[in-house]
């Protein structure tokens, strides 16, 4: 008999149907490519119109004209912009992001070194945000209008509103300077440098694998403050969104159904409402994670954290455009990648989205 959809056909006008798997792969691939081209092109153009002079970044301000001109030619800056861009792209495709002026090393090597530091920081911050923010948000929704809700709201507001660079400085002063319970800036005590071989680049993992527990705990100590500071916004955002999603779900009729069944309130909340919230949260958490990966510049600056945000920023100030583009591309691709991943997870978690 006739095809029936719960929505009814009338509701389906202009609704796109889930494309087949080939189409999805194509979309994934094309969005990565487009993002890559877009990011590199914009950064490239910015790099060329910037008043900062990459040649001077190398030769210094007292360089004579000859030295300057030689470097100018060597860097290929005499070629038309589009040609420079194409050369750059073709190098990148072959895995060559060029050399960084600032570090005198291959940009790729730098990225391998700096990115894990940011990854470590952002991951921990996201975990803090999720494991504290989600229960806070759920609690606030369940006890809507009560003191716990207000507390969560105030915490959320604070996290939303506080300038992170200022908070970081104050926290450093209090916990390191006055109380002396947490270590100062940096990723690890300098004299531990080189004790652990970089395998993944993430010190926690590397030191654990190599059973250098002293280094491990030192790294943990160093992580606490910056990751907490970085997490303030994530925590506020996640708690707020969880609360709002949860309130939404608690007003749904299936929650009433669950209650009619005689379920305990905790089963109603965690077993039913929260499962639906989780589906929505995936996107939010993905977004937060991506934004922490790219938004850690200030935290990294305050805490002397050798991460990619600081790398890109310092490179930018030094007109080190290879490094800037390389870093931006990595962060941008991560952003797209996390979005795609959270999309996929979303589809996995929400049966309605699994178009089969």
């Amino acid at each position: 008999m006739g095809l029936k959809t719960p929505l009814g056909l009338e509701g389906m006008v202009n609704k796109s149907f889930p494309p087949p798997i080939v189409g999805q792969l194509f979309r994934l691939f094309s969005s990565l490519i487009l993002t890559f081209i877009g990011l590199t092109a914009i950064t490239f153009i910015i790099g060329r119109v910037m008043p900062a002079d990459p040649v001077l970044a190398i030769v210094g301000d007292r360089a004579s004209r000859e030295v300057y001109d030689a470097m100018y030619l060597q860097m290929g800056l005499d070629k038309p912009l589009i040609q420079q861009y194409l050369i750059y792209i073709s190098n990148v495709v072959q895995g060559d992001f060029g050399k960084s002026i600032m570090t005198a090393r291959d940009v790729l090597d730098d990225l391998i070194r700096f990115f894990p530091a940011t990854l470590e920081l952002a991951t921990i911050a996201t975990l803090i945000g999720v494991f504290i923010g989600v229960p806070m948000g759920v609690g606030a929704a369940v006890y809507q209008g009560q003191w716990f809700d207000h507390l969560v709201r105030v915490i959320g507001l604070f996290g939303y509103s506080v300038p992170i660079f200022w908070l970081g400085m104050v926290a450093l002063l209090i916990f390191y300077g006055w109380l002396d319970v947490l270590p100062g800036p940096g990723r690890i005590e300098v004299f531990y440098d080189g004790v652990v071989n970089p395998v993944t680049g993430i010190i926690l993992i590397d030191s654990a694998l190599q059973e250098e527990w002293e280094v491990f705990w030192n790294a943990v100590d160093h992580l606490i403050l910056p990751s907490t500071i970085l997490a303030t916004f994530a925590l506020a955002y996640i708690a707020r969104m969880t609360r709002s999603f949860m309130l939404d779900q608690l007003n749904q009729e299936y929650v009433l159904t669950a209650r009619v069944k005689g379920l305990k309130e905790s089963s109603v909340i965690w077993g039913h409402a929260f499962r639906n919230v989780l589906v929505q949260l995936i996107t939010i958490i993905g977004l937060t994670y991506a934004s922490l990966l790219e938004g850690s510049v200030l935290t990294e600056t305050i805490f002397s954290w050798p991460g990619i945000g600081q790398y890109i920023t310092t490179s930018l100030f030094n007109a080190d455009m290879n490094a800037v583009i390389g870093g931006t591309v990595v962060v941008g691709i991560c952003f797209v990648g996390i979005n795609i991943l959270s999309d996929a997870l979303y589809k996995l978690a929400d049966p309605r989205a699994r178009g089969d």
């Binding site: 009729e253 009433l256 069944k261 005689g262 379920l263 077993g271 929400d350 309605r352």
Partner: protein
């Protein structure tokens, strides 16, 4: 008469930004092992009556009653903890639209089985067997396949049958059906009602059918309560509907278009006196 439920002077009111709204005003009725219909237009308080019995009035509402007697206990004075033992196990409720009343991220079978496991010590296995059996009873073919479907994968009619299965699996004494068919096509509507009919007969339950469709209720139920403005205006046997005395009931009947009648439809004119008890027919 032997009644399952005895409601006396039940009131429900809501705190809204625009002030307190009385949704239900001191209504009293009883329910035996019968099919009782509650009819009314939107806003008449019929759905709130059903929810109040189960103690599921939303947070901004308040309920008061002289008593809601069920099996010797007064539901209106019960703790939340005791109420949970009543809900599902003794009194169940089916809601209007299975699209919204089923949890979208849970397999329908699990949702039914959960309703069973809450009130029994059954194992997962037993619960599943029982669920499949129940699905068969609500005339779902390939029940084991349907068990693993998600709510969005089933049609409205099937969804409503799944709801029925879920609500009847612990074998309650009373079932409240809140507009169980108004989101469905007419043919499916009849089929759903016939299943409810079977269940009521087989299990000897009391059924409260809440609906806005006077025709449907009178043809399905044994007794009909007509609600308007939070009050019960008239209570009559379904077979006596055509002899309804209250002008509201009569007006409702007259304004329905039908195949037989032609020309201008009668328009219902409302009288504020209805709510002042002038026409209250016990």
């Amino acid at each position: 008469m032997q009644y399952l439920l005895n409601v006396e002077k039940l009131s429900v009111s809501f705190e809204t930004p625009k002030g307190v709204v009385d949704a239900v005003r001191e209504i009293s009725f009883t329910l035996g092992k019968e099919r009782l219909g509650i009819v009314g237009e939107s806003g008449s308080g019929k759905s709130q009556t059903g929810r109040a019995i189960l103690g599921l009035t939303s947070k901004n509402g308040s309920v008061s009653a002289n008593h809601i007697l069920f099996d010797g206990a007064d539901l209106s004075r019960m703790t939340e903890r005791d109420m949970r033992k009543i809900r599902g196990a003794r009194i169940s409720m089916i809601m209007q639209d299975p699209r919204y009343s089923l949890n979208p991220v849970m397999r329908v079978g699990e949702q039914i089985a959960e309703a069973f496991r809450v009130h029994t010590r059954a194992s997962r296995r037993q619960a599943k067997d029982r669920t499949i059996e129940m699905l068969n009873r609500v005339k779902i073919r390939e029940a084991d396949k349907v068990y693993n479907l998600f709510p969005h994968e089933v049609s409205g009619g099937m969804g409503q049958r799944i709801m029925i299965a879920m609500m009847l699996i612990p074998e309650p004494d009373i079932l409240i059906a809140d507009e169980p068919t108004s989101a469905l096509d007419v043919t499916v509507q009849l089929q759903i009602l016939s299943i409810l009919d079977d269940m009521v007969r087989e299990q000897g339950m009391g059924l409260i059918l809440i609906s806005h469709d006077l025709n449907l209720v009178s043809s399905f139920c044994d007794r009909v309560l007509v609600m308007y403005g939070g009050q019960i205006l008239e209570s009559l046997n379904a077979s006596d509907l055509n002899n309804a005395k209250h002008p509201y009931t009569r007006g409702l009947l007259n304004c329905l278009p039908s195949l037989e009648r032609q020309g201008e439809l009668a328009v219902l004119t409302r009288d504020p006196k209805w709510l002042e008890g002038g026409y209250n027919i016990p």
